[in-house]
Symmetry: C2
Subunit: 243 residues, 2 copies
């Protein structure tokens, strides 16, 4: 099932409000942006959705047309390897960006699956290209955004040891959810155990076991998808391999 992108232009002031939490914010309101540019930029950004759970924002092989920012919900990006196994690249939460995977070549190489009812902002890529022609700091901004996403991706794979990766994941997700309004150390996981396990490159069973172990050590509370970080400090130490 493919979600249909019902886009509609946004009112400027409304957009400014809505985007205060958003990663695109840095792109939308870079310093020194003139009112005229702002208006042109605003005319580029469209809202799309809501998309139902189980639908796709884009799929492997789709042509690259836009960069997206998640306004609400959660999106999983994953690919399927030669053996048919699902490999989860990452999760995109409220305020976060996706779509950069396809800048070169101009084709998405992963699937973006809606995990929770979701609406997004859409920036058509070729509009960016066009607008950048006479407003080139926009391109620099995009470069920085991509670079930062890049750096984020590299954060995992660092930790050896399943416990370390799980701790890092929990701390990471928690702080990202907190940025967009969740309580500081309490949240609802938007994804299944299987998705998390695939993302962390461990088996779902090991994930389950180690979550129980962390609970036994009074570092977290877990009940199905509800999680509370009881001892965030020790958890962070664990995540950095300094336990």
């Amino acid at each position: 099932m493919r979600a249909h992108a019902n886009t509609s232009p946004l009112v400027l002031g409304k957009l400014r409000d809505a985007c205060s939490f958003c990663s695109l914010h840095e792109l939308c309101w870079p310093m020194g942006l003139e009112a005229a540019d702002l208006e042109r930029l605003q005319s580029m950004v469209r809202q799309a959705g809501p998309f139902p759970v189980g639908s796709y924002l884009f799929r492997t092989g789709d042509q690259f047309t836009a960069i997206y920012a998640v306004r609400s919900g959660c999106i999983k990006s994953y690919s399927v390897d030669a053996g048919g196994h699902e490999l989860v690249h990452g999760f995109h939460l409220r305020g976060e960006l996706l779509g950069f995977d396809a800048v070169y070549p101009e084709q998405h190489h992963c699937n973006a699956l809606i995990l929770e009812p979701c609406s997004v902002c859409v920036i058509p890529y070729h509009d960016i290209d066009r607008l950048s022609a006479d407003f080139h700091s926009l391109h620099s901004q995009i470069l920085r955004l991509i670079s930062r996403e890049f750096a984020r991706q590299l954060m995992y794979g660092e930790g050896f040891g399943a416990t370390q990766r799980i701790a890092a994941f929990l701390v990471n997700i928690c702080s990202r959810l907190h940025q967009s309004g969740s309580p500081e150390y309490e949240f609802r996981l938007p994804m299944s155990r299987e998705d998390i396990a695939s993302y962390l490159a461990i088996s779902p069973e090991t994930l389950s076991r180690l979550l129980s172990k962390l609970r036994g050590q009074r570092l977290i509370e877990v009940n199905r998808r509800h999680v509370r970080l009881v001892d965030p400090e020790r958890l962070k130490l664990l995540a950095e391999g300094l336990d």
Copy 2:
């Protein structure tokens, strides 16, 4: 020891020749580049080196000043984790790029260590930024290059199983070395077993053992750093987990 960057401008024709094998080639000679732009671009790119083995092109924390293309030799980029362990991010061979790690924030977050005597091309980043102001397709090119590097990085971590990762590494290095003039299936590894092991996230002992096993299976020949892929096809299958 920090290598001193003795840069010197290049003659245009010479550059064109020298760069035919190089990844910057796509940046230097994008379609539709006018002679005047070409000259300005040419004035940006400088050659630096040779750098001796054991010196650094840049180190963690250095300010981001330029993007580099390897003209000869081999560079290892790595960081050191909280526990003092070396984590190898990648190897940069002749014709390949590095330095993108620092686009945001404008600070290198890894060390670039010379593994084999090495000379590079240097593109000062702020020159790119300046030139892009009136020649914006340059920025698009850079975006594409970064995006491609990004995609390359993600290729690892995919394979579970040490054998799979080793096979993928051998095939990968071999094809990269082949692109810049090595025989198709025979090459000299520019890095130590320890570096490879760190890069693949396995122990040096396991690497050694599994190399021996691959030799036993007549898939490769190994003698110290000299490697020949005896059965590249089966090796590629192994690398993709389809054995």
